[in-house]
């Protein structure tokens, strides 16, 4: 059904575009006796049109069309009501779905809300765990601080799938933690296949993204400011609350962005560490595309996710307009 060939005129358009580019380069070389430097960006411009803009337009196209290619909003209605297709067919047959007890299906919406909730919790935990760590590392009297930052980067080099799977061997029913518990004579615990395990995996994977920006903005701070506060009689708690912490807020905002964005779209972690009822929005999109083979609904779900991310990014940018906290490496 989705085996659409490229329309015959497309190759002509590409050919004409390519010839046009060559012509433009030739003209500009003749005029300036040298290639204009801004033309260096042309290959990249072409690349971005081909591999970013056109693919995005494809997603938008599928989201607003049905299987035969006609314009429709049904895919978004399916997001709101996962039984929409079925109920529509029933109504077409003259059966009232309510009579058969088929109500609005809220699977898709619930998955989205669950993902947002999990991402929120993950971001919160990372912030609570990461801020003190960044603060202690940025402490001037602590000479090992810079080395420790590297220690936060190194685990990220291990393939993230393997790192997540490694947690499996700790949390399993017969895993390391339960073996230790049993050795101490304690009852076994069910640690895996629930939301907490998924949350643990997410925090584990995203914690460094919270620590770096906060560390960056803390270590860039002018030390004399907090010294001045102390000289003027503030104790260390007040200095932290009124000087150090407010100045580190850009880093916090950028940390929140860098943790929240990937955690909303987490894919794979819920599958490995979670059970049947911990599906997140990323998994839902993947399943809709590949298992259910429904590109139209899948595209609509992707669009919804992108819009949500753009909204939250805009809100976060407002909090850190200069992007000061960024620059993680």
């Amino acid at each position: 059904m989705n085996n659409m060939a490229l329309p015959p005129w497309a190759s002509w358009v590409m050919l004409v575009g390519f010839m046009g580019f060559i012509g433009m380069v030739a003209v500009s070389i003749r005029r300036n006796r040298g290639v204009k430097r801004s033309l260096f960006a042309f290959p990249y411009g072409l690349w971005i049109v081909l591999f970013t803009l056109i693919p995005l337009l494809l997603i938008a196209y599928y989201a607003f069309t049905n299987k035969t290619g006609g314009f429709t909003l049904d895919n978004f209605k399916t997001f709101w009501d996962s039984n929409y297709e079925m109920r529509k067919q029933m109504l077409d047959l003259g059966v009232n779905p309510q009579d058969l007890g088929i109500a609005r299906g809220n699977v898709n919406l619930d998955t989205l809300l669950y993902s947002l909730w999990m991402a929120f919790l993950c971001t919160l935990i990372c912030l609570v765990m990461g801020y003190p760590a960044a603060l202690f590392m940025a402490d001037r009297s602590f000479k090992l601080g810079a080395t420790l930052v590297v220690l936060f980067i190194i685990p990220m080099w291990m393939n993230f799938l393997l790192r997540t799977i490694a947690w499996m061997s700790l949390l399993e029913d017969n895993g390391l933690i339960n073996t230790l518990l049993a050795a101490m004579g304690l009852p076994k615990m069910r640690l895996m296949y629930n939301s907490q395990a998924v949350l643990l995996g997410m925090v584990y994977n995203y914690l460094p993204f919270m620590v770096f920006p906060i560390y960056n903005s803390l270590s860039k701070q002018d030390r004399r400011l907090s010294e001045a506060a102390m000289d003027l009689g503030a104790n260390s708690a007040l200095t932290f609350l009124r000087v150090t912490m407010p100045l580190s807020l850009p880093g916090v905002v950028s940390g929140i962005t860098m943790v929240f964005m990937p955690s909303v779209t987490t894919f794979f972690i819920p599958r490995v560490l979670g059970g049947g009822n911990t599906e997140m929005f990323g998994d839902l999109i993947e399943r809709t595309f590949l298992s259910a083979d429904n590109w139209n609904v899948g595209s609509a779900l992707s669009l919804i996710m992108m819009v949500l991310i753009l909204i939250s990014l805009t809100l976060l940018r407002k909090a850190d307009p200069e992007g000061e906290g960024s620059g993680t490496l």
Partner: protein
């Protein structure tokens, strides 16, 4: 708060980050398949690793794609940064916005949109499409590493070179390129590591016949990971660690001299 508590807290956080990795490395030396029981020291998983054609093939694909993607992205990205730097304000703003799109897009959407493109244009998915996808997500990182170096550069040194009779090409090679080189190298290294570690985008842009390490691990994850994978990741971890130490040492030597 006492110094002791601060250090203790940092140690705990680092322990949290390292426990799974240590477990993984220890398991790779375990004689048995069990993930919880220690059945004696053995190197058999390392031996099997080098005799496993599927893992060796995936390793080859991962490394060559990372190298090629980093090289192509570095060339296109560096050229783009130089071009964008020479643009007037408005087109530059447009290009920067376009550069931000792929960076704010979630990986899964990038992967799926490229998958749609390849299916739509009937390009069979495999090594080539995965390479294209990796170059696509790498270029913005190269641009963002090179751009700041261009901004720091003295605006007039390029023009001075031209006034002194250098051709634009010569001035580009001898004036601009050397001063942005640190950014170019950062961008290339960043691309290489991003590419090595990518799973989501590779997953959607390749076929089951052409697997890199991540997609191979994914397809095995449901059956339960074999200890050979642990051996491989232990090796890669150590290799990257050595690389980092070498780079750091070089950097500190260069700093001292």
């Amino acid at each position: 708060m006492s110094k002791f508590m601060k250090r203790g807290y940092l140690a705990l956080v680092l322990l949290f980050l390292y426990v799974p990795i240590i477990v993984l490395i220890v398991q790779s030396f375990n004689a048995g398949v069990s993930r919880a029981k220690w059945e004696g020291f053995s190197l058999q998983w390392y031996e099997r690793l080098f005799n496993s054609p599927s893992i060796m093939n995936a390793l080859y694909i991962t490394v060559t794609i990372a190298l090629l993607a980093a090289a192509i992205a570095t060339v296109i990205g560096t050229l783009a940064a130089i071009g964008m730097h020479a643009m007037s304000k408005r087109p530059q703003g447009v290009m920067l916005t376009l550069t931000n799109i792929p960076m704010t897009m979630p990986d899964i959407v990038t992967g799926i949109s490229l998958m749609l493109l390849f299916i739509f244009t009937q390009v069979p998915r495999g090594y080539f499409t995965m390479l294209l996808a990796h170059v696509t997500f790498n270029i913005p990182y190269v641009i963002l590493s090179v751009m700041p170096k261009l901004k720091q550069m003295n605006k007039f040194s390029y023009e001075a070179a031209l006034d002194l009779g250098a051709t634009p090409g010569y001035a580009l090679r001898r004036v601009i390129l050397p001063s942005v080189m640190p950014g170019v190298i950062t961008g290339a290294l960043l691309s290489f590591t991003l590419s090595l570690d990518d799973f989501t985008i590779s997953y959607f842009t390749t076929s089951p016949l052409v697997q890199n390490l991540s997609t191979l691990i994914y397809s095995e994850a449901r059956k339960g990971i074999k200890p050979t994978m642990n051996a491989l990741s232990a090796l890669m971890f150590v290799a990257l660690l050595v690389l980092l130490l070498a780079v750091n040492r070089r950097a500190s030597l260069a700093h001292e001299s």
